[in-house]
């Protein structure tokens, strides 16, 4: 198969997926539209986290915190009668600014140190939210969030939100795809393979890492902002540590460092979680069962994928896809496995 045929095939596949997802909200029931929106929001967050894990080679266990910052920023502003579109726009900015500020010291850490410090950040943030009830509603939560208005257009039904999420998710995926194929993307990839080598080649490692961290937080922030208008109510319970872990699982399932993997991971994990919840929720079954099932299955998915197909679904498929190619025309391996391996080797050395 020629190179041109391949890229044509990939492009048409992307267009088909785009059109199908665009048509879906028209035929879905209202509860399915909710799942659709959830997948879209997760895709936005996971794209950022995948960028951080695959390209900067760092794991953040605090991504749900930035999601929460976005949600609370938009929620609080909307409740205080700011125009809702301004509130939504402020969500990624607030998350990005906070990530930038805490990133300056925290990104000196790496590996397990960064994992634990981002987790600590999230736990501290939850305590702060619970103890500033005059602003956030505390543990009870923030309710009465008005509907989102874009100019004269009111975004109120599930279908409206489905389209809003679709537009933002596609924008985020395109921005990320272009970014990873441009100069900053190549710099980030070089950093993931060897930070000292990249630094020796003149790449400003610290500054790129900080930008990557800030961007991934901003993605989480805009997703949080949409979430708060969609649900209309938030409390600290909506942003548990398990949500941060869930985002990491989605990255791993889709394939670390693959842009399209973000969507696949988000979709697969969200659908599995919904199926489990509906299976486990029945009056005759113990009330803890849905939680047990989702925790257990998430954990098993994470462990099994890392043990058996560490490159993730998209990574493994693209590995197979490359094997059909006689000559390696793409010398830079973008799949998660190699990035993950080399990150660790570089750290060991």
């Amino acid at each position: 198969m020629s190179e041109r045929m391949r890229s044509l095939l990939v492009l048409s596949l992307a267009v088909v997926i785009g059109l199908v997802t665009l048509a879906l909200p028209l035929v879905l029931s209202s509860s399915d539209v909710e799942i659709y929106v959830t997948i879209g929001l997760a895709t936005i967050v996971v794209t950022g986290l995948s960028l951080l894990m695959g390209f900067a080679g760092q794991v953040s266990l605090g991504q749900a915190a930035f999601y929460g910052v976005g949600a609370y920023t938009a929620g609080i502003m909307a409740v205080h009668h700011w125009p809702s579109l301004v509130a939504l726009m402020a969500a990624p900015i607030a998350a990005g600014v906070i990530a930038f500020v805490i990133g300056v010291p925290l990104l000196r850490l790496k590996g397990h140190a960064l994992v634990f410090s981002t987790l600590a950040f999230q736990l501290i943030l939850l305590v702060v939210i619970e103890n500033t009830s005059f602003l956030t509603g505390g543990a009870i939560g923030l309710s009465g969030i008005p509907a989102l208005h874009v100019g004269p257009l009111a975004i109120s039904t599930g279908k409206d939100y489905a389209y809003l999420v679709w537009i933002v998710a596609v924008a985020v995926l395109l921005i990320t795809r272009n970014l990873t194929r441009s100069r900053p993307g190549r710099a980030l990839r070089a950093m993931a393979i060897t930070a000292s080598g990249a630094s020796a080649a003149g790449i400003a490692v610290e500054s790129y890492k900080l930008k990557d961290f800030t961007l991934s937080a901003a993605y989480a922030g805009i997703a949080g902002g949409i979430y708060v208008f969609f649900i209309g109510y938030i409390s600290p319970d909506a942003f548990p540590v398990t949500l941060s872990i869930e985002f990491v699982i989605m990255v791993v399932v889709g394939g670390i460092g693959t842009v399209s993997g973000a969507f696949v991971g988000a979709a697969v994990v969200t659908v599995i979680s919904q199926v489990l919840t509906s299976l486990g929720t029945s009056p005759s079954l113990p009330p803890d069962l849905p939680t047990v099932l989702s925790l257990g299955v998430y954990a098993l998915i994470l462990i099994i994928i890392l043990r058996l197909i560490p490159a993730g679904v998209v990574g493994t498929l693209s590995d197979l896809w490359k094997k059909t190619k006689p000559s390696a025309s793409n010398p830079v391996d973008t799949t998660g496995r190699s990035v993950l391996d080399s990150t660790v080797q570089a750290k060991d050395g």
Binding site: I124, A299, L306
Partner: protein, 284 residues
Amino acid sequence: MSAFTEYLITGVARGLVFALLATGFVLIYRVTRVVNFAQGAFAVFGGLLTFSLLRAGIPQGVSEVLAALAVAVIGLIFGVITIAGKIPLLSSLIITIGLAMLSEAIAMLAWGSIPISYSGLAGHDFVILGAVVQRQYLLVLVVSLVLFGSMALLFGRTYFGKAMTACASNAYAAKLSGINVKRMGLLAFILGGALGGIGGALLTPVEPMTYNADVSLSILGFAAAIVGGLTSPGLAVAGGLVFGLTEQFVSGYWSPSYDTAVALALLIVVLLWQARRMRLEGLE
């Protein structure tokens, strides 16, 4: 004065439990370079298993030991899943996060979501400097001191301990001198499991245990261990005390809502200080 003594004693007791978890972190990290996020789950299993054994009529003392042995087996299983075969370190770390989640699911399935407790060391509470103290705190103190002492002996005086230290300082050279590094890693997981299990069994009578207590126990045990750069057991014990006391004094003199937040902020400060120290010493 009595309030101060009370915070001091509860802080030291909690700190010692963190130190037991921290010692597990240090053991496993030194040999395998893996930071075991599921360390807190060992304590959860220790507490919950002791509860069930006691309810089955097995006498106090025996129950705690049996629970610790069972958690040592869990440690072995976690070790196999985490480090068997060739696997990148970052993957191992993420797998231990998965194991922590899996533990929560198992604990919730078997013991439910309601906090569980049992009575600790029998006998009347006693009074020190005006503070009423449960006898269990005395047990926590004695047992952990005995454990830290025997760990020191194990590492300083036995072949096994020296082999483990050898793996920690240079895995390649250890392998060349005939030490099975993987097996030493699994032994570290077994010991880490047993220490965590005992910690949980000691803690549950004074602080009811839930299926999801593992995250805060893991992060505070890690905090204690990071004081010694994840490699020094002695500094890890000191770290445990620092974090235990910080939590109790913040909770007592300021507000119980901020105890964990302040301890976690301190964790971030210690992490940054360690990173700076490493950089200055060129250890990176």
